[in-house]
């Protein structure tokens, strides 16, 4: 249920890094459990949570690895906590099995992924955005997640709150897909006096794993409430009883877990547009790269070029409808990314116009002049 709560920090302007802003957003959203394992470039989130959770009466534990970190987060979530972890690519790879478990058991939790230049150990201190597809498809089987993509320290704070609200509202593992550049950038963060927070729906005695209307999210009881809960990663019916050889139960569960996100996607998807009204070329951008895009587009507009951009504040579920509509209005869509075209490939599924992928995987941010050059080539 929605509620209005006082911000944990006094209202005002703060000068924080992106990682510090994530920790403050989590505390403000009501997060009271953190389990994690150190990994560059995300560790400052864990360090700040270690002392902030102590101040607000929450629980912090540094686990032995990422597998146990996400497991402990899921365990705490079923004990009633708003719970989170933060990691980077290699750690996210280790978490994948249990992220699928969280999706299948409809466990709200936040996974912050501060992306670095992969694959493998790659360049641990350098930026990348190569985990977009992994966040969606990393665990086996068919399931949905929600993923947000911040472009500023302000959004690292705001979207952490938004991500917790999505996780609790839709009972789904939710990702904040930051990157090294935004995590270590310091800039002004404005904290408002109040925060809107969603607390998971509870209803005693109701089946926690089914609902007649696939758009409705079943209530989630907690351990210790006398409900004799059955939580399992095996195929289960509405009460949680294992049904591992019934085709109808499996089909219904997998479809409902997908439908509950896809049928609510218009409420989840969060897209920003800039100067697209008369644009002939649009940039489809997200994360830190959207900052360079903004600079490039402003410059070109000043010179009379008809360019604009669509910024994806949420990456999953993917805004196919919005991209499809955009593709009918413009001649070309440029997708600059710090990976080998992960979002460009997704955009091609729904686009009616040419989608041009610009990939840069050198561990550096994509600079405004690079995007400008690519745009001029297309105009």
């Amino acid at each position: 249920m929605w509620k209005r709560v006082r911000s944990s920090l006094p209202k005002g302007r703060y000068y924080l890094s992106g990682n510090e802003a994530v920790a403050e957003g989590a505390i403000a959203a009501g997060c009271r459990f953190y389990a994690g394992y150190p990994i560059t470039p995300s560790s400052e989130i864990m360090e700040r949570m270690a002392h902030r959770l102590g101040e607000v009466g929450g629980v912090f534990v540094q686990m032995e690895d990422e597998l146990s970190s996400i497991a402990a987060v899921i365990g705490a979530s079923w004990a009633g906590a708003k719970a989170m972890t933060a990691t980077s690519g290699p750690g996210l790879s280790l978490m994948m099995e249990n992220i699928g478990y969280a999706a299948f058991t409809e466990t709200p939790c936040l996974i912050v992924d501060i992306q670095r230049a992969g694959p493998a150990t790659g360049q641990a201190t350098r930026v990348g955005s190569g985990d977009i597809m992994q966040a969606k498809w990393g665990s086996h089987g068919d399931y949905q997640v929600i993923a947000l993509s911040p472009w500023s320290v302000q959004e690292m704070y705001d979207q952490t709150i938004q991500a917790f609200n999505c996780a609790e509202r839709y009972r789904v593992p939710t990702f904040l897909l930051g990157d090294e550049a935004i995590a270590h950038l310091r800039e002004t963060l404005e904290i408002k006096p109040w925060v809107r927070a969603f607390d998971r729906k509870q209803s005693k005695g109701k089946p926690p794993f089914d609902s007649k209307d696939p758009r409705q999210i079943p209530p989630m009881p907690a351990f210790g409430e006398g409900e004799s809960l059955l939580v399992t990663g095996s195929t289960h019916d509405g009460l949680g009883i294992r049904r591992t050889d019934d085709p109808k139960v499996h089909a219904r569960l997998v479809k409902r877990l997908n439908d509950k996100i896809l049928l609510n996607q218009e409420d989840i998807i969060d897209v920003e547009t800039f100067l697209l009204e008369d644009a002939t070329v649009a940039v489809l951008c997200y994360g830190f790269t959207a900052r360079s895009t903004l600079t490039a587009v402003k410059e070109l507009r000043g010179e009379g070029y008809k360019v604009g951009f669509m910024r994806l504040r949420t990456l999953w579920p993917f805004p196919h409808r919005g991209v499809g509509q955009l593709s009918k209005r413009v001649d070309k869509i440029l997708v600059p990314e710090m990976n080998r075209g992960q979002v460009a490939g997704e955009a091609m599924k729904s686009s009616r116009c040419e989608v041009v992928s610009f990939c840069q995987t050198d561990g550096e941010i994509i600079r405004p002049e690079v995007i400008r050059k690519e745009l001029v080539r297309l105009l």
Partner: protein
């Protein structure tokens, strides 16, 4: 299952899934008898398990909160639940492969942290559910579906492993030693801190069939002949102890009671 324990079983679950001769049904009953003897309200307990035959002991049979998690991670899931809500009385029940092989790292770290979890490891010395492959607990030389010429590697001594990791309450019994096992489970339930009880539970279907012990009575007899208590072991020579499994309690089992 004696009807006396019926009140602790989840209504609507007619049977257990265990093979004829499996020790896990005996262990299931003995855990409930221990809880009953301690007059603990089972609805205040959370039972966490991983993947494998033993993970099905509590889930779905126990009429309490049950948390059937991923392979190897039961202790990590349990750690999160227990740390966030310390009022939960958390028992982890899983197999030897789950807790000591794929999940071995979590076992030693939970022992080190002294998290207040009651861990019961049903050790059948083999991967039963997947068809009888060699485990980290399979005796040297035993035949399994992946060691047709005999297991070339030594097994873990799980109790010594947990004790070395800092576990203060460690015990080992076979399901053929029900009274001693119930006593240890009862002690663990009133112990504050991490407890580990290894329970030797025969798998006639997989272990027995590959090691000339194909009938359940033969496996039970094998356990009875090969398990010796710590007291009995003191009377035996090194030669007589060869291949024997020593059972009993280790560490400060009375220490943190209350």
């Amino acid at each position: 299952m004696a009807r006396a324990m019926q009140q602790y079983l989840r209504p609507g679950i007619p049977t257990t899934p265990f093979c004829p001769g499996c020790g896990h049904g005996i262990l299931l009953g003995l855990i409930l008898r221990s809880i009953d003897a301690m007059e603990i309200d089972i609805r205040e307990m959370l039972f966490v398990s991983g993947i494998g035959c033993a993970a099905w002991i509590p889930s779905p049979h126990f009429n309490a909160d049950t948390f059937h998690t991923t392979h190897g991670r039961a202790i990590a899931f349990a750690t999160g639940a227990k740390l966030y809500n310390p009022k939960l009385r958390v028992m982890v029940i899983s197999g030897d492969g789950d807790l000591s092989s794929i999940g071995g790292n979590h076992l030693i770290h939970a022992a080190r942290r002294d998290i207040d979890l009651k861990v019961i490891c049903a050790n059948n010395m083999i991967y039963g559910m997947t068809g009888g492959q060699v485990a980290a607990t399979t005796p040297l030389g035993s035949t399994t579906s992946t060691t047709p010429l005999g297991n070339p590697y030594r097994p873990f001594d799980l109790c010594r492993l947990v004790e070395a990791a800092g576990g203060k309450f460690v015990a080992r019994h076979a399901v053929t030693q029900p009274l001693a096992l119930v006593e240890s489970i009862k002690k663990s339930l009133s112990f504050t801190g991490f407890t580990f009880i290894e329970v030797l539970s025969p798998c006639a279907t997989q272990f027995g069939s590959k090691n000339l012990l194909e009938s359940a009575p033969k496996m039970m007899k094998w356990l009875m002949e090969n398990c010796v208590t710590r007291e009995e072991a003191e009377e035996l020579s090194q030669e007589e102890l060869e291949g024997k499994i020593i059972t009993g309690e280790w560490g400060d089992v009375e220490g943190s009671t209350g």
